[in-house]
Amino acid sequence: MNGIHDMGGLHGFGPVEIDPDEPVFTTEWGSRVFCMTQVIDGLGVWNLDEHRHEIELMAPEDYLTHSYYGRWLFAMERILDRRNIVRREEVDLRAAEIASDKRQFTPVRKTDRNWPMSEDARVRWGAWRKEESVTPKFDEGQRVRVRNIHPPGHTRVTNYTRGKSGDIYRVNDQAWVFPDTRAHYQGENLQAVYTVRFDAQTLWGESQAEPNLYVYIDLSENHLEADQENE
């Protein structure tokens, strides 16, 4: 999807401000959200692409105003609810009880909960399959063009590279999962990932590109096509 998360090249966000004394976690709840997510990652409840896509589905103004772990909280809540593991109403009730300093919480009552999950309902997390192999379609040094696509769902092809031509710098010939389909449980579509090198002038035009700048980005085979024009 063309979303605010795909922000490479945007103006208007001000300076980058580094706090040298920043702790590992800036909020306690953020640390819990991150680490709960890490643990659930290993339980087969969601896959990483689905989790990323869930964040992309935040209302754009929420995406911009929530902190990084605030976005993770949003995704965790929504997927747990969708998977029928923890329902939104349950979180609402428990949160209200916490907010009003109740000592004793109403115990959960739900009976048709999808937990424990059956073994075959659990999903794989990993990014590539060591046990599989693929035959890359493109070679190192080849000129390729990024496909101009605008899928409504999850995609890892950034808007700022679409339609642009670059050179294959490196062929990562492992059997990588294709995030655009796995996020929607439409298959792993194992394929090579290519590190593509773009001259900044191709991306940003002659007037605005900074000098002597190259942007390298890792793109799935499905996002590329041979660039016959410029070969």
Binding site: R32, M36, D62, V108, W128, L203, E210
Partner: protein, 201 residues
């Protein structure tokens, strides 16, 4: 979202997080002790010092450096380093004429097992939006002034491949041990928003 609560002390996110954790405990998805352990792991065991060890070893051991540049994760494994969210690692080397810097414009991918968790600025809209378009300006604002003859390579790590910048070994560092060298290498060097290695004293 509509989750805003009127609790005076706690952010609504803190309350919802607590609610979810409490429920996940109650239905036996996880235990708060599990979570405590993971928090401690990220607060105490993992961090930029891990990456610094890798770089320092490469500076003093040319054979290790070769292996690191060929297969980052395999070389890290020699030092007992590895973990989630890094399934392939490319180490990119600075030279006098090349500067590397890493970003993820789509979310905030980062080599957790090597550098720990990313700082807030790495995840900020400002960094993600600007670094692919005007890294020279961003770096200059952060105190890294690069002449035009220094090529900048920005690595937008939007796939599952992670990147680590190997800064240039400082001159006149022959007397420093591997451990002393590691002390000089910061997180910012290995992301690429710092370049010069400052020697103490």
């Amino acid at each position: 979202m509509g989750h805003k609560h009127a609790h005076p002390e706690k952010a609504w996110q803190a309350i919802r997080t607590e609610a979810i954790e409490s429920l996940l405990n109650e239905i036996n998805v996880l235990t708060s002790e599990d979570i405590d352990k993971v928090v401690r792991h990220y607060e105490e065991n993992v961090g930029p010092k891990t990456g610094a060890k890798v770089i320092a070893r490469a500076w003093v051991d040319p054979e290790f450096k070769k292996r690191l540049l060929a297969d980052g994760l395999a070389a890290c494994a020699e030092l007992g380093i590895g973990g989630p969210e890094t399934e392939l690692l490319h180490v990119v080397e600075n030279t006098s004429k090349v500067h590397n810097v890493v970003v993820c414009t789509l979310c905030s991918c980062y080599p957790w097992p090597i550098l720990g968790l990313p700082p807030v600025w790495y995840k900020s809209s400002a960094y993600r939006s600007r670094l692919v378009r005007e890294p020279r300006k961003v770096l200059s604002e952060l105190g890294v002034e690069l002449q035009e003859d220094v090529e900048i390579r920005v690595w937008d790590s939007v796939s599952e491949i992670r990147y680590l910048v190997m800064p240039e070994k400082p001159d006149h560092a022959e007397n420093l041990s591997e451990a002393e060298l590691a002390e000089l290498i910061t997180r910012d060097h290995m992301i690429g928003v710092a370049r010069h290695i400052h020697q103490a004293g």
